[in-house]
Amino acid sequence: MTNDDTTKGEVVNNPEKTQESGLTPGELELSQVDSAGVEPGETTPKVVGYRQGMFGPTQGGDTSGYGLLRRPILVAGETARPYGGYFDEIADSLERGLVGGPASFGEAVAAVVIDRGEMTLNVNREHLPAVARVLRDDPALRFEICTGVSGVHYPDRAGEELHALYHFLSITNGSRRVRVEVSCPDDDPHIPSIVEIYPANDWHERETWDMFGIVFDGHPALTRILMPDDWPGHPQRKDYPLGGIPVEYKGATIPPPDQRRSYT
């Protein structure tokens, strides 16, 4: 039996792997868990990737003996109602507020995730402005402040590589917080801009464009803000190198941080 630790998710000579997805039967079962038959208020775990070996990606040979260890990375998937706390109220008010608008709650919100005391609404990108408008204007929601956009790049998730996360705060309704997560694929990185609804997002969207390449349609002036104006590439993407240089010490040269041995 050979130890093959080169690529994550790829194991050769594994006699149990028969499906096309490259998953073992146990993993396939886990990835097909859905929210039917789940207890109320319970969050279904969602598999977003696999961790190979004991120490994750390594450079060079694996002498740990744990090279065939393969564990799924589980994040919180959809949560079943009731959510608990003020989250139910938010979901109900949003549903009510979206009635008569361009999209209903079911069309706009793909999933609601309650994890670690925080509510995340996974919103489909074309309905983001409608949802944002209801979040701001509906008296029961009244999220006056959008604290900004945070981009995340998941190169392994095909079809939804770029995520934009908006965090909202409601001062009038007792400091409630909600997060809206919007995703878009790499080959069509467009998300409608909500600068008209929350002008504070102006620079945040510019920063997310600068760092990730997400184009916010409808933004008044989407230009580079942190990097020089003619900089190529989007630095905080995972396929952009850290860009360091090797460090010279007396008698040795150490490679830059992204090329060193990692223990992740």
């Binding site: 961790r51 402040i145 705060l169 997060r179 905080q236 223990y263």
Partner: protein
């Protein structure tokens, strides 16, 4: 001066009008519009010129400037002394800290995020550590002494940050004494930081799970000695500034941003509190045990730079009140020697740092144990320091009330020893968008006062 009253003729047939435009003049002017003015029609020409934007100049208050709070570039279009358009150019201090953090362990990330807003290092550390603790699920397991130490450090940082804000604001207006007084008081606070954490600035003191080390002996006495002195110093600042007619003349009704404007631009912090809204995350969404402390939220209603100055000064007094309460609690729990790190040894920073003969380092007892008696302890220490602990996959957002506003930390973990993504919502980044709203229509000199009252720190803006 021509003698005839209607004077906008461009051709002159007789020599008695030496000021009329000749064909030669027109040829020399080329494409530029030529105005002929002689008596009585000056205003109509000026109106025309203004309409053609000929009086406006674009001035660049470049990244290197004594008054722009770091490397901020302000592009101003001026009409005489009035600013008609103000735009801020940022990014001159972009360090790629967030991307760097993706290649360092969770604990090492503290040393990076601390250097974002370098005037309020403890706030960044706290926001980051609170977010990690939320992901780990150990928010309730943080020892109380650690929380009290965090609050102490944060409030001292708040005072030192406001002192710099007021000091540099005063210096930009020309009052150098304000700066020397402010920095003198700040040195007192920095000496406390040095005593407790080992460094004056950018101290990586607050770590996931607690704080890196406990107070050294004599720290509480030094703290108690320092607080009245700092209070007196702030009193001196108040005497210099509060009723000063020059300060009032330069700051009252300057940089006005009403509550509507603040809400539209998502402004938080002293700028929002100067409009009258008592929004403070320490009260509305408490963390680290802030709900158990007795302090007030300071507001003013004037929405101008003077109001923000008064808000900052009064906030400093409130912070000192909290510092005294912290000192009482620390003294009470000193005898029992409460731990300052979470009990879970798989997360807690393994080294008990202590001040030895050669400076700050691992305590000798700990060294004796891991080198002498227990191999497992040595391996454990080694693994925790080099590899770090693993954080369960997920994402968390924690917001705290920094000296400048709401500082949010959003981290995404994929189950590893490094952050998958760490993003900081810096208050200065957001608040600096208000420059245009505050300055357009005002005077050139008011731009400096308005920017000083927003108190941006470019390290936080550019990260």
């Amino acid at each position: 001066m021509s003698t005839n009253t209607d004077s906008t003729t461009t051709e002159s047939t007789h020599q008695s009008d030496p000021y009329a435009t000749t064909a030669a003049d027109e040829a020399a002017a080329g494409d530029a519009p030529v105005f002929t003015v002689s008596g009585g029609d000056w205003y109509s020409v000026v109106d025309e010129a203004t309409a053609l934007h000929e009086e406006r100049i674009v001035v660049n208050m470049g990244p290197q400037h004594p008054s722009t709070h770091g490397v901020l570039r302000l592009i101003l279009e001026l009409d005489g002394e009035t600013v008609t358009e103000a735009r801020a150019g940022i990014g001159y201090l972009h360090t790629g800290i967030e991307k760097n953090m993706e290649f360092r362990t969770w604990v090492q990330g503290v040393t990076f995020c601390t250097r974002m807003d370098y005037l309020t290092p403890m706030f960044q550390e706290t926001a980051y550590c609170l977010a990690i603790e939320k992901l780990l699920g150990i928010t309730d397991d943080i020892p109380e002494r650690a929380s009290v130490l965090r609050v102490l450090m944060m409030e001292l940082t708040r005072v030192s940050s406001h002192l710099v804000a007021i000091g540099t604001g005063g210096m930009e207006m020309g009052a150098t004494t304000v700066m020397t007084v402010g920095f003198r008081e700040r040195e007192r606070i920095l000496s406390i930081f040095e005593m407790v954490t080992g460094l004056r600035m950018n101290n990586a003191y607050i770590r996931p799970g607690g704080v890196s080390q406990d107070l050294p002996p004599g720290a509480i006495d030094a703290l108690r000695e320092m607080v009245p002195k700092v209070r007196k110093g702030i009193g001196e600042l108040e005497a210099l500034l509060n009723e000063n007619p020059i300060v009032k003349g330069r700051m009252v009704d300057v940089g006005i941003l009403s509550l509507t404007g603040c809400m539209a631009l998502g402004i938080t912090g002293p700028v929002l509190r100067s409009t009258g809204l008592p929004h403070d995350l320490r009260k509305s969404d408490p963390y680290c045990g802030y709900e158990t402390y007795d302090f007030d939220v300071i507001t003013r209603t004037s929405s101008d730079s003077y109001g923000r100055l008064r808000v900052r000064i009064d906030e400093m007094y409130e912070s000192l009140k909290i510092v005294e309460q912290c000192a009482d609690r620390l003294q009470a729990s000193e005898g029992s020697q409460g731990s300052v790190m979470v009990a879970d040894k798989k997360i807690a920073w393994p080294a008990q740092l202590a001040l030895g003969g050669d400076g700050l380092g691992n305590s000798l007892d700990h060294i004796r144990e891991i080198m002498g008696s227990s191999m497992e302890s040595l391996i454990h220490h080694f693994k925790l320091v080099t590899e770090g602990f693993r954080v369960p996959p997920g994402q968390a957002y924690v917001a705290i009330e920094s000296a400048k506003g709401e500082l949010g930390c959003h981290i995404v973990s994929d189950g590893g020893t490094r952050p998958y993504r760490a993003h900081f919502r810096d208050p200065s980044f957001n608040n600096l968008q208000a420059v245009a709203a505050m300055c357009e229509g005002g005077q050139m000199a008011d731009v400096i006062v308005a920017v000083a009252s927003i108190d941006p720190v470019m390290g936080g803006v550019d990260r």
